[in-house]
């Protein structure tokens, strides 16, 4: 075949995390702090309900936007836990994980050459999906502001082509949350420049120090805020591939239009299971949250004791320490730690600008493994620094 492939696809750089993955897979007896998903199994009540729905033959397509019962349950959940109010009929669509939601939203919003501001380090899909939608990602480096985007930094990146800002709070990979006042200021900025705010809140339910504040709860900005959330993290349902997009009806119509052609509907079994989760799994979710909180504290203490400057992450299950005191760059640190002590972490550079000099450690790993991993890392850091 001599025909060229799609130019946009070829322009997307290969994933930085993929390269590291190949290295780790070959290694033996590794404790991995490199995963991006919970260590808990989906709560049994949810799995059991999915089995029940299979037994009863609920295996057909659902409406394009998702089962109404599922959207209603999402609406109630968002209103009860986040004070964000969305009409299940016109403002919510169930998607194949949050990732599909990001893709659908970007394809609905962007015209060729439109710019999307992405505070980095950030989750790896935003930039490439902007590119694939024909837009131009505009990353901004948040390292100097503790990985929380400032109004000034975002404003400086705004051009006439800017269409949207993507925010993720609590953040993968840093675990940092944008405080409420900053959220309000960012929304105000978006309003002044007539921008969309795409808010990835998949980790919101895993907030530790203060209750999470959804961008969807600021009612006077509802016409420009798009909330993305899902079941992967808080409900430990990564493989079920279920998320949702909430936003103004004019946007949701377009999101459903793309979704109906490229996906038809989100997985049916997952939608039934999610209803059970939204209605009855809150105690389980809270148990998991408390468990992550203890592990966060343990890991932050351990990293600080090693002499690695570590900002306390307010949410998610990642911690993003600086490894600058070791004098190693992020990739070298991660590679040597893997070789010498068999602990896998992800170099911060895999998450874009501002990830240099940092590593992402996921603490969703059982306590004894975590303690062992911290002991090994401490030995490694001590060796490098002496």
């Amino acid at each position: 075949m001599t025909k060229p492939f799609n130019r946009l696809v070829d322009q997307v750089p290969p994933s930085g995390i993929r390269r590291f993955f190949d290295l780790v897979v070959g290694a033996q007896d590794v404790i991995s702090l490199g995963v991006g998903e919970p260590d808990f199994m989906t709560p049994w009540a949810i799995r059991e309900d999915a089995i029940y729905s299979l037994e009863h033959g609920r295996v057909t397509y659902t409406e394009n936007g998702g089962l109404l019962a599922c959207r209603q349950a999402v609406s109630t959940y968002l209103s009860d836990f986040f004070h964000a109010h969305y009409d299940p009929h016109t403002q919510i669509v169930m998607t194949i994980g949050v990732s599909e939601g990001v893709d659908l939203v970007l394809r609905s919003l962007l015209n060729p050459g439109n710019e999307v501001i992405i505070p980095e380090p950030a989750y790896v899909c935003y930039g490439p999906l902007v590119q694939l939608a024909g837009g131009r990602p505009v990353p901004i480096n948040t390292q100097s502001s503790g990985f929380i985007p400032t109004v000034a930094a975002i404003e400086a990146a705004i051009t006439p082509a800017t269409t949207a800002i993507i925010l993720c709070s609590p953040s993968n990979p840093t675990g940092r949350s944008i405080p409420k006042e900053r959220q309000a200021a960012l929304l105000d900025l978006a309003k002044r420049h007539d921008l969309w705010v795409i808010s990835d809140e998949v980790y919101a339910a895993l907030s530790y120090d203060t209750p999470p504040v959804s961008m969807g709860s600021f009612s006077s900005y509802q016409d420009r805020v798009i909330v993305l959330n899902g079941f992967s993290k808080a409900f430990s349902m990564t493989g079920w591939r279920l998320g949702y997009v909430c936003g103004p009806p004019e946007l949701i119509k377009r999101v459903i239009k793309i979704h109906q052609y490229c996906a038809l509907c989100a997985p049916t079994v997952s939608q039934y299971a999610a209803i059970e989760g939204l209605k009855h799994a809150h105690k389980e979710v809270e148990k998991m949250r408390v468990s992550y909180l203890k592990r966060r504290n343990l890991v932050v203490h351990a990293l600080q004791d090693m002499g690695l400057p570590t900002l306390v992450p307010e949410g998610a299950f990642y911690v993003f320490p600086s490894i600058e005191p070791t004098g190693l760059d992020a990739e070298t640190f991660a590679l040597q730690l893997l070789e010498k002590e068999k602990v896998a972490v992800v170099p911060g550079t895999a998450f874009g600008l501002g990830g240099d000099g940092h590593i992402r450690c996921c603490y969703a790993t059982d306590m004894s493994q975590l303690t062992e991993a911290m002991a090994r890392m401490a030995r490694f850091v001590k060796g490098v620094m002496s």
């Binding site: 994933s15 995390i17 590291f20 993955f21 780790v24 897979v25 590794v30 991995s32 490199g34 995963v35 991006g36 998903e37 260590d39 989750y123 790896v124 899909c125 993968n172 408390v290 203890k294 592990r295 504290n297 343990l298 203490h301 351990a302 896998a344 992800v346 895999a350 306590m367 303690t371």
Partner: protein, 166 residues
Amino acid sequence: MTTSLDHRILDILRHHARSTIQEIADQLNESVERVSQSIHQLERNGIILQYATIIDDSKLTRRKPPIRALIEVKVRPERRTGFDAVAARIAKFPNVVDHYLISGSYDFLVMVEGDSLEDISRFVSGKLATIEHVLSTATHFIMKKYKEKGAIVGPQDGDPRLMITP
């Protein structure tokens, strides 16, 4: 009077009895001194009774695993002390490992441990059933353990997650 710190410590110790004081303090963002003091107090006040281990005896090879039986006991309560005086007599036997007063068609549920079926039968007929206020007993030998104190017995699935994911 227990404090919120006491409860947060107990939440950890309930499932991870071997956690060190340093680990508990780190997890709770508390000082080692406060945690240590609280645990000491909980032990002294008889709130922490014991640090025990949950064991899957069926995997042991050098010794025969102990036999266990659940025994339903009907009792005539005593005039002034009710069930407690009878219970105290039963609970003192070292082979009684759990002992509850319960609602329903009988009064006590007693878990007894022994080296053999005979061992347990001897205990029930010789000791338990002959206590003055015990009216009747029904013994159920335990054939297999599936779960104990929240721990599932048997092979556990490994971690199915990929080593590195975004």
